[in-house]
Symmetry: C2
Subunit: 334 residues, 2 copies
Amino acid sequence: MKNRITMKDIAREAGVSVATVSHVINGTKNISKETSERVLKSIEKYNYVPDSSAKNLRKKKTKTAGLIVSSLPDNFVNDMIFGVEERAREMGYNLLLVNTKEDEKYEEESINLLHSNLVDGIILSPTSGDISYLNKYTNYKFPVVMVNRFDKKIKNIPIVSGDNYQLGFDATTHLLRHGHKKIGFIYSVLNVSTTEERLRGYKDALKQFDIPFCEGCLERGYGTVKGGADAVANLLSREKDITALFTQTDLMTVGAIGKIKEMQLRIPDDLAIIGFGDFPSAVIIEPPVTNIILPARTIGRTAFDVLINKIHNPDYMTHIQLPSSLIVRNSCGC
Amino acid sequence: MKNRITMKDIAREAGVSVATVSHVINGTKNISKETSERVLKSIEKYNYVPDSSAKNLRKKKTKTAGLIVSSLPDNFVNDMIFGVEERAREMGYNLLLVNTKEDEKYEEESINLLHSNLVDGIILSPTSGDISYLNKYTNYKFPVVMVNRFDKKIKNIPIVSGDNYQLGFDATTHLLRHGHKKIGFIYSVLNVSTTEERLRGYKDALKQFDIPFCEGCLERGYGTVKGGADAVANLLSREKDITALFTQTDLMTVGAIGKIKEMQLRIPDDLAIIGFGDFPSAVIIEPPVTNIILPARTIGRTAFDVLINKIHNPDYMTHIQLPSSLIVRNSCGC
DNA sequence: ATGAAAGCGCTAACAC
DNA sequence: GTGTTAGCGCTTTCAT
């Protein structure tokens, strides 16, 4: 393995000092055109790229951000990830991706590692566990922003999320307007702001229609197709008079629909359904499925912008809530 | 912003030298139990984490890998990404994710940047463009492995991909066996091994059934739902006697099915379809769609393992081809 | 078993 | 406009 070219080599080759090389690379000082060109030529010739580690050590910045997601990757999460990635590169940052798969311990380990000057800041979509350990980092101003899921108990941490309360309220209201009185709520993770807020919206919508909240209408399942199917089966065997469903992830929505069809129930006549999160095939399913969505890509992009602000100003705070929208198709009864 | 704790601080606190601290952290030398415990205690107390940049500079290794993908992210690519991510973390590596979106120039820039001691190696799913610039890196043994897509022109680069030739052959043969004589082939990127290999398989299958290859049966579209729909419309308006379709990405498959339904054609009676890449809702679509798949997650994981080998041994070479499998449902006519 | 010190490749303050 | 040099925080060789 040939030894790496360093700035010193370039300097020697161009007959200048390393300081000069550094300055022409970074444009940090006026260097005469001739010298500059000579340096550039050597750089070209040797295909030289400044060592990032050395630079990072010296500048105490890495120009990379960490993105830690915890969910089973569904369409929403994937879009959000690519939103972050897209914005990061637009801003000249690299992106370190970590998927904790709801593993709290691994989440803490990851943050600890990234925090070691590996990244300038972290965008975190946390697990449902106890994440108060985060205060350890945010307290002394290591830039962390929460995306999608948030936890108000953590101090000094900006948040970018969807307006999940309104989302829950709107989806439920829509079903209520179609005359449904008993609406199943299928989720995958509890103690997480997304689910909790939607649930709050769901309950408030019920209240507004003077319909009592029924504890048995809540059903938890694994956040996969299979999980959605199982949840529907359980829910329906327990609460026979449910006439509508509100599912919380696109994978579960698909599983739910599969199970409903398998049970020979008709959508939306026997059972109406609204899912959270759009997915490409929603239109071609019979009937086309009504989804309530959040702008995943924008949430990701915005989270990155907020992180940049936080990096530049350690006291920066905000809670941005992006609005949801209902994509009305037919599974809701419309 | 409080100043970062360094090894020096820990050393002072514990009343030892930095060398000792380093050794207890890394277990690189025998340190007496008492000293060791004292050091550990200080580390704990200050929540100290060694600076990664300094460590990387010194060791000339970063324990992070770069993953550069170029495709519009569909189900296959996403699964592959998480396969790489999963394996990376199992092996104690971090993952830098870059999506070039088929932008050749950005791809080259990214590689150049990552190569600057930012990552120990790169897993690349290249654009369709001319990537011979890669030789510049692989020639002097910077570890790069190609995943999914490959280009034999690059020297000294291991490859992990699906067996796309067999995939194309099998999918086409399956359709042929159902009696189809004119099969549309809908793809999104040309000059890329995945498409080219599948096409080669497609042609060979045709040959085996003594059916002449029809140039007009090939249709290119943008790799999205809309792209798939448009491609079908174009294809069908030109070649009216096509009775089966083989689409190359899951998004295009969905778009194609949507368009077919919109045209009031029946699947599989008027038009059979097999798509590449499975997607969660394939089962609940009417009719359930037959897909031919590649083990995306395994491909990702394997690519990472190959990268590790390449990092340890600069001369390591291989071309691993993972087999495809046909998920027979009903859209093919079965 | 522990410590002193060199040096990884770069940036930036300072000198000329 | 250009060069000298200290030092970022760590690992590691060599002493003791």
